[in-house]
């Protein structure tokens, strides 16, 4: 058994950290406050090939896998970008490049992968609907066959990054949920040219005001009679679930990685403050009431990291990874929340001041416990699928 990260992943950590070292906490704070995309970091990551890590070499990428993307995501978040920076890696390198590399047609790969690898073209992913969040198989956005084309109608919510996306991976039902046997059948994933659909008036979106992660807007999306071609299908018609698992597992792993990086940032801030802040003539970190929770967070971070890397490693080997991805997402998000919460407690009243980064860390960490999947659903998966307990629904 060898726990050594492969050299490629170690180089990713060094390379991404070297770029991130030029952007401090204040930079990320400004991006959040000004609700702006971290253009500068994005450009540098793109130029160095750090976004295209998982794109095959023949399409201009780094020829690596989800493990390298995981390490990159974690490194970026741990540099100070924290959990809200997750979208840098989740939207395009994850949703777009990783999915198309595995499930795209030859034409889709040739057209899009080189530009995805270079960071020139961005993507987003649309699954969740107002009435289908946790129960995502119940989506009702429909794609009806009409000659050689499909006509799509429906509504999506919490679709992040539509504004910058040239393509959307859109999950539809070609068989209504009520008629699909098994429930996982009848799903079809399409590639949508977003600017074109917007220009045709077939797709519109409205950002949702949100309490954190404001570097990238999340939106309601409305689709009316959007016509798509058969060549726009990713994977097979009605077999979209196969594509979906390869989107949702990496999503959990990458969001887990950004949560983990966020936990590192919060812990670092808390430890620094606990060493420096003196009350009753000694640094507050000398008090076990301060020190022990931080030590406990450290333990949870290390445990979550092991499971994240294992889940990514399994995915890259094309082995089942859902259990590991779910455990990793659950524990990393919990570690992030506990780190932010204890960082708050350690900073005392000053945590409430926006001069300190704690508010941003707290908001970023909190959403990780419900997105992209709630803690309860993750626990439910473990209870029913792993422990074999009876289902409640």
């Amino acid at each position: 058994m060898d726990f050594t990260l492969p050299e490629s992943a170690r180089e990713v950590r060094r390379g991404v950290a070297a770029i991130c070292a030029r952007y401090d906490m204040a930079y990320w704070q400004r991006c959040e406050e000004q609700k702006r995309w971290p253009e500068e970091v994005w450009a540098e990551l793109a130029k160095g090939g750090w976004l295209g890590l998982a794109v095959p070499e023949e399409y201009g990428g780094g020829g690596q896998g989800l493990l390298e993307l995981t390490v990159a995501t974690e490194t970026l978040a741990a540099s100070g970008a924290a959990g809200g920076s997750a979208f840098t890696y989740v939207l395009t390198p994850g949703f777009g490049a990783l999915t198309l590399a595995r499930h795209g047609s030859a034409a889709q790969k040739a057209e899009l992968l080189p530009r995805l690898a270079a960071g020139e073209l961005e993507t987003c992913f649309a699954l969740t609907e107002p009435d289908a969040g946790s129960n995502s198989l119940a989506i009702s956005t429909s794609a009806r066959r009409d000659g050689d084309e499909y006509v799509v109608n429906g509504q999506k919510i919490w679709i992040t990054g539509v504004q910058r996306a040239a393509r959307m991976l859109l999950v539809t039902r070609t068989i209504p949920a009520a008629e699909a046997r098994p429930r996982t059948s009848g799903l079809t994933v399409f590639l949508v040219d977003v600017p074109q659909a917007v220009a045709q008036g077939r797709l519109s979106y409205r950002p949702i005001p949100k309490m954190g992660a404001n570097t990238t807007p999340s939106n309601m999306v409305f689709i009316d009679d959007l016509r798509l071609r058969a060549t726009d299908v990713v994977g097979e018609v009605d077999q979209g679930a196969l594509v979906l698992w390869d989107v949702l597992n990496p999503e959990r792993i990458l969001l887990g990685a950004s949560a983990l990086g966020g936990a590192e940032v919060a812990l670092r801030a808390a430890v620094a403050y606990a060493k420096e802040r003196e009350v009753f003539g000694r640094p507050i970190g000398a008090n076990q009431a301060i020190a022990f929770p931080l030590a406990q967070v450290k333990a949870k971070i290390e445990l979550a990291r092991l499971m994240l890397y294992k889940a990514a490693w399994l995915f890259d080997r094309r082995e089942p990874c859902a259990t590991e991805a779910n455990i990793a997402k659950l524990t990393a998000s919990q570690a992030a929340w506990e780190a932010a919460d204890h960082a708050f407690q350690t900073h005392g009243g000053m945590a409430y001041s926006l001069e300190y980064p704690i508010a941003r860390l707290l908001a970023d960490a909190r959403v990780g416990r419900v997105a992209p999947v709630t803690e309860e659903l993750l626990l439910n998966y473990l209870a029913t699928q792993v422990l074999g307990l009876p289902r409640s629904f």
Partner: protein, 259 residues
């Protein structure tokens, strides 16, 4: 064009740097080794010249075995191959000894243009480019903030206290660069992975026909006889302004002979 960039591994300035109590030389194991910052500018300039005029960039370093990390960094930036001059006999060489060793190696591997950073952050002698040019019998164009090449003609803008001098010469030549010259690129992921497979040739003193009487600690013309840790910075003087702050500040400056 055959461009050779001399790079040096130096102790990371972010870590505590120490001298060895054994022979008063730099303790290279005590601190993390990193590429000397100005050498990155030299590598960048070499790559730019190659991109504009074609040719090949070879990295040359003299240093202990662990200097391979620095070689890989330069290769990751885009250099084509490297020569690592490594031999216990070279330990403790001063600038004269180092210039002899590097000049002998350069004669062996051949060059049209040698580029160096203008100084290293550890020894800071800043004389190596001049010494190399002298030993190689080529023109020296030092402290360049800009380099132009036209056929076999090379011209630089040499940084001076009053602005810059335009210096021209004919290749082959030795150039040293300052940090104003460019913005060194970050190694890309592909560059880093490719660097692991690029050829690194190892030279010892015999391979490069280096005269061992001219190198190493015993042959150095300079010697560190003793050293001490710098005293911690003393507290400054606070002048309290009670309406006469200006006069007090002037008195202070006068007492230190600043005015």
């Amino acid at each position: 064009m055959n461009i050779v960039v001399c790079v040096k591994q130096v102790p990371d300035t972010a870590t505590e740097r120490k001298l060895s109590s054994k022979d008063n030389t730099l303790d290279r194991d005590a601190a993390d080794g990193v590429i000397n910052e100005l050498c990155e500018y030299a590598v960048e300039e070499a790559l730019k010249i190659k991109e504009a005029h074609g040719g090949e960039v070879t990295v040359l370093t003299m240093g202990p075995a662990k200097a391979t990390d620095t070689i890989r960094k330069a290769l990751a930036m885009g250099a084509d191959k490297a020569v690592h001059l490594v031999d216990d006999a070279l330990h403790g060489s001063d600038a004269l000894g180092t210039s002899h060793a590097l000049a002998q190696t350069l004669k062996k591997i051949g060059f049209d243009l040698v580029i160096l950073g203008s100084e290293s952050t550890d020894a800071r002698t800043g004389v190596l480019a001049a010494m190399l040019a002298e030993r190689l019998g080529t023109p020296q164009l030092t402290l360049a903030r800009k380099v132009d090449i036209d056929g076999s003609a090379i011209s630089i803008e040499r940084v001076t206290d009053y602005g810059y001098d335009k210096v021209t010469a004919t290749l082959p030549a030795v150039v040293s660069v300052v940090e104003k010259i460019n913005e060194p690129r970050y190694p890309s992921f592909k560059g880093i992975m490719a660097a692991k497979k690029k050829p690194v040739q190892t030279f010892g003193v015999a391979d490069a026909e280096i005269d061992t009487a001219q190198v190493g600690l015993a042959s150095s013309w300079s010697e560190v006889t003793e050293f001490a840790v710098a005293p911690p910075r003393a507290a400054g003087t606070i002048v309290k302004d009670e309406g006469d702050g200006g006069a007090k500040a002037a008195e202070f400056l006068a007492s230190k002979k600043f005015i």
